[in-house]
């Protein structure tokens, strides 16, 4: 096992995102995380594969020194599924964006997650179409003024975390592009999880949607809104732990921590999907949860395929001669 360094994962190809793009931060985090991931999982670099669709984020594979396939708009989860079924030993990442994953590729995202294929989907959410130069995306808030919605978008946006939970994803995470330490932790958690993983990475598009997530990116605002989820820990956030989440009228609500008894502060239980759904409904200005929303270990698709294959082989080994005579057959003398 070679001890990799961060540089070992850079392809050397000139990176062509806009100056100041959040994608640079994500690329740096992935390159930082990969040596640790390889060491932890006992993987060599050639077993790591990055698959992408189309969009700014989908250029990602070109900048990694691993195997990579930049495919068709929205279809990366399908191609990644084929790769995992063909060779379950590979660590397969899908790099995608809000348009690629939730608009044109919504269907494939749904089925990849519900099948629980061992694919790690990194969805760079910038609430905008960048590569086509600034149209509203399926995550753009209603009323968003863009080139294709000069009077404000009338589309209702999709909530990526709630969508992934609804698809039955086994591990659902959220991170922020410029919070390197946390993002690296999330990437490691994703790599460690055997089944399907959906990571929403809030990513700043400096050209077409600058500041869309300033409430968790601006150092002054972030402490007020960001709730870093800690398994087993109380949901407390804000300056000096000023705020807490409690169950109120069937939803998780933000309160002044001092106003409620300690025991009513909700503790984070990633195994609890219902609670994860409640968490997914929280957003600015109330509270933006970051980290592991939900984790459940269910049978992994490609392992099930292998199981059926070995059971079938044990029951009746491959024999073409017998196969050709398995239906109506007769002999002519």
């Amino acid at each position: 096992m070679p001890a990799y360094k961060r540089e070992d994962f850079a392809s050397g190809q000139e990176v062509r995102w806009c100056p100041g793009c959040g994608d640079y931060a994500v690329l740096a985090a992935v390159q930082k995380a990969m040596p640790e991931i390889c060491s932890e999982l006992g993987l060599t670099k050639e077993r790591v594969v990055f698959i992408s669709g189309i969009g700014c984020s989908s250029r990602f594979p070109y900048y990694m020194s691993c195997y990579g396939f930049h495919t068709v708009h929205g279809r990366a989860p399908a191609i990644a599924t084929g790769i995992k079924v063909a060779n379950p030993d590979l660590l397969v990442w899908v790099v995608t964006g809000d348009g690629d994953s939730l608009s044109i590729g919504g269907n494939h995202t749904l089925h990849c997650l519900r099948r629980n294929v061992g694919v790690k989907i990194l969805m760079f959410n910038n609430n905008i179409y960048g590569l086509t130069k600034g149209q509203y995306s399926p995550t753009s808030p209603k009323g968003k003024v863009t080139k294709s919605s000069p009077l404000g978008s009338v589309d209702q946006p999709v909530n990526p975390v709630a969508f992934a939970l609804g698809c039955g994803a086994g591990l659902v995470l959220r991170a922020v592009d410029r919070d390197m330490a946390h993002l690296v932790e999330m990437l490691k958690a994703a790599a460690r999880h055997p089944g399907a993983v959906y990571v929403e990475i809030l990513q700043n598009c400096v050209v077409y949607n600058d500041g869309a997530f300033r409430f968790v990116m601006d150092p002054a605002q972030k402490p007020v809104h960001a709730l870093y989820l800690k398994p087993g820990g109380p949901m407390v956030f804000g300056p000096e732990g000023r705020f807490a989440l409690v169950w109120k009228e069937g939803r998780l609500s933000k309160v002044e921590k001092a106003s409620v008894p300690e025991t009513s502060v909700v503790r984070h239980d990633p195994a609890n999907r219902t609670q994860a759904f409640a968490l997914s409904q929280l957003w600015h200005p109330e509270c933006v949860p970051l980290g592991v929303f939900h984790r459940a270990e269910t049978p992994v698709y490609e392992s099930e395929v292998l199981r059926l294959e070995s059971e079938a082989s044990a029951k009746s080994p491959a024999d073409l001669k017998a196969l050709f005579r398995s239906g109506l057959s007769w002999r002519v003398q």
Partner: protein, 614 residues
């Protein structure tokens, strides 16, 4: 006792309501025919609705068997015997019964209400529709089976269900085909319900006895066994043969075969069949749609295994972007299109071969790939194997065209020995120390790039749908490079011509008329050419398996004939290609009625063109 007439072949169709058990009747009779040593071809036809309303013309289901002591090339289109179980079946199928043909009707079902529902204004059995044109036998099958099972403790409606076996018994008597295999089947199928078993055996025997005792039939027929080369035979449909061909390809290449597909008529049976073949290394995935199915197959190819998807026309439409990516990424991919009548949803259960131009050209950009077509149910096996071979040798997507007729039609297959099965060589690249890996460096012989698969140390590389720099494989937008790459992709596919054997012309190598066909029309066209030959009308036949690239000697062959007639189950798709490639004034015999080519009409057209007398 009626006398016996020797005959060489016969075409029989069993037709009835969806609930009349016609598929079972046809299959049982086919089995019996195969066991008795005749050559045969079968053609089932179902309604598109799963449970169509009772007694309607669109709920009619049928099964056709052509068998004989001579070589049987197709299921035929003109019937010698038609068995109809209800008025709707009569309405739908009577036009296909040849003049003077035998019509056997289940008289029990010809009640006034049913006759009206089928769209007849009066009872067609008595109003002069049939008299003098066909030989009618009215047999109250429904009543007779109820009587045969009189002492059995079953409801009359249940007893009546055995009427399909009565029909099998009667037809078996008429053609002197032993019923032992049918009895064996009945014993196995109804082993768990002794009363139903008893009833069905009685119905079969009653049908046989009816022929013997009713003294309605002028004579029985007798067929010698066909002269078939010795060996073991299996009856296969095109869809089964296709699945077996894929299993063979996986075995002979030593690779896994990821079979990704979305259910679609008439291709779904292949998905069902491969699910039984996991031990052969086939990994079936039921995808969410055909886009994903083709994508999964391509992903499997990227990972170094065999990626295959099988679909029908609507799925071909959806797969086109993935085919384009496979052309650009230069990865092997096999897509089988079991064609059906279109456009759009069209006639899902009816036959048409109208996706040729879509297969050849249905992608944006210059996206050449290999297109093959299977010519018979058995040929689906060999075409599947060849498609995998070409895909991995040339690192290219390959489209295989089958159709609804081939898919469902069954014929005997002389089972090949291991020595007859081709090997498929798969070569994955490995790193050469000190030499940087160039993903788009090419094999000088085939023009194929090397297949470097994830997991191989030292060959890490990135590919994708963006244009590649020649040799290097990096993203490149230079205009001159784009032209180089466009020509390289085109030239690589044209190079497949080196793998195509010379054209085999049936009949004279030159002359007045060449019938040029492709795909599932092989049997029909060959039969027509043979029959015309026997009548002294010289007609040659060439059938294409390779539709892109076309065989290199095709132009020379076409030039040796004064006239070229292209029979197709579409509006002239190969015809357009031939006319544009070879500047030949070919004509079409075009047929889009949801059925295989009408052989009698084709024969007349070919005969007229060849200057013969029909």
């Amino acid at each position: 006792m009626p006398g016996t007439v020797q005959t060489e072949e016969a075409v029989i169709r069993f037709a009835g309501d969806s609930g009349d058990g016609m598929q079972l009747a046809g299959l049982r009779f086919s089995d019996a025919v195969a066991w008795s040593g005749q050559d045969l071809a079968t053609l089932p036809e179902y309604p598109a609705e799963i449970r169509a309303p009772l007694g309607t013309t669109y709920g009619v289901s049928s099964f056709q068997v052509r068998f004989g002591s001579v070589e049987i090339l197709s299921a035929g289109s003109s019937l010698d015997v038609l068995v109809v179980m209800n008025p709707a079946a009569l309405k739908v199928h009577l036009p296909d019964l040849r003049p003077g043909g035998i019509l056997i009707v289940n008289e029990t079902a010809f009640e006034e209400k049913a006759v009206k529902k089928a769209g007849f204004s009066a009872d067609p059995l008595t109003d002069g529709t049939i008299e003098g044109r066909w030989v009618l036998h009215k047999v109250p099958m429904g009543r007779l089976v109820v009587e045969a099972g009189a002492d059995l403790d079953l409801a009359p409606a249940e007893k009546s269900k055995a009427r399909n076996l009565f029909a099998v018994g009667l037809i078996s008597w008429l053609f002197q085909i032993p019923t032992a295999s049918t009895e064996g089947f009945v014993r196995k199928k109804f082993a768990k319900s002794p009363k139903v078993l008893d009833l069905n055996l009685r119905a079969l025997a009653a049908g046989h006895a009816y022929g013997e005792t009713a003294e309605l039939f002028e004579h029985r027929f007798q067929l010698r066994p066909a002269e078939m080369p010795p060996g073991d035979y299996a009856a296969v449909t095109g869809n089964t043969a296709l699945a077996w061909g894929l299993a063979c390809a996986a075995q002979r290449s030593g690779r896994k075969l990821v079979y990704a597909a979305y259910p679609i008529t008439p291709a779904s049976e292949v998905l069902h069949e491969v699910n039984k073949l996991r031990s052969f290394g086939i990994r079936p995935v039921q995808a969410e749609d055909e886009i994903a199915a083709a994508g999964m197959a391509l992903g499997a190819s990227f990972a170094g295994e065999l990626g295959v998807t099988v679909t029908s026309g609507p799925g071909l439409d959806l797969s086109s972007e993935m085919l384009g990516l496979a052309v650009m990424a230069e990865l092997p991919l096999v897509l089988v299109d079991v064609q059906r009548a279109g456009p759009s949803t069209g006639l899902p259960t009816k036959n048409e071969a109208s996706d040729l131009l879509a297969a050849l050209y249905g992608r944006h950009g210059e996206a050449p790939l290999v297109v093959l077509a299977a010519s018979s149910p058995v040929d689906c096996f060999w075409t599947a194997v060849e498609a995998v071979r070409l895909a991995v040798e040339f690192m290219t997507p390959v489209i295989v065209l089958s159709d609804g007729y081939l898919a469902n039609c069954a014929e005997p297959w002389r089972i090949p020995g291991p020595e007859d099965l081709p090997s498929i060589e798969v070569r994955h690249a490995s790193a050469i120390p000190g030499t940087p890996f160039k993903p788009y460096a090419r094999d000088p012989k085939t023009g194929a790039r090397s297949w470097a698969v994830p997991g191989t140390p030292g060959l890490e590389h990135r590919i994708g749908g963006l244009e590649k720099k020649d040799v290097e494989g990096t993203v490149n937008y230079e205009p001159a490079n784009h032209e180089v790459m466009t020509l390289l992709r085109e030239g690589k596919i044209l190079g497949v011509r080196g793998r195509i054997p010379p054209c085999e012309v049936f009949g004279e190598a030159s002359g007045d008329l060449l019938l040029l066909g492709w795909g599932g029309t092989f049997g029909s066209i060959r039969g027509v050419a043979k029959r015309l030959g026997e009548k002294g009308v010289k007609v040659s036949h060439l059938h294409l398996r390779h539709l892109h690239p076309l065989p290199s000697d095709l132009g020379a062959v076409l030039a040796r004939f004064k006239k070229v007639l292209v029979p197709e189950v579409n509006r002239g798709q190969l015809l357009k290609v031939i006319r544009s490639f070879y500047l030949v004034d070919a004509q079409g015999f075009l047929y889009t009625r949801g059925r295989p080519l009408n052989e009698a009409e084709l024969e007349a057209a070919a005969c007229a063109l060849a200057g013969g007398e029909a």
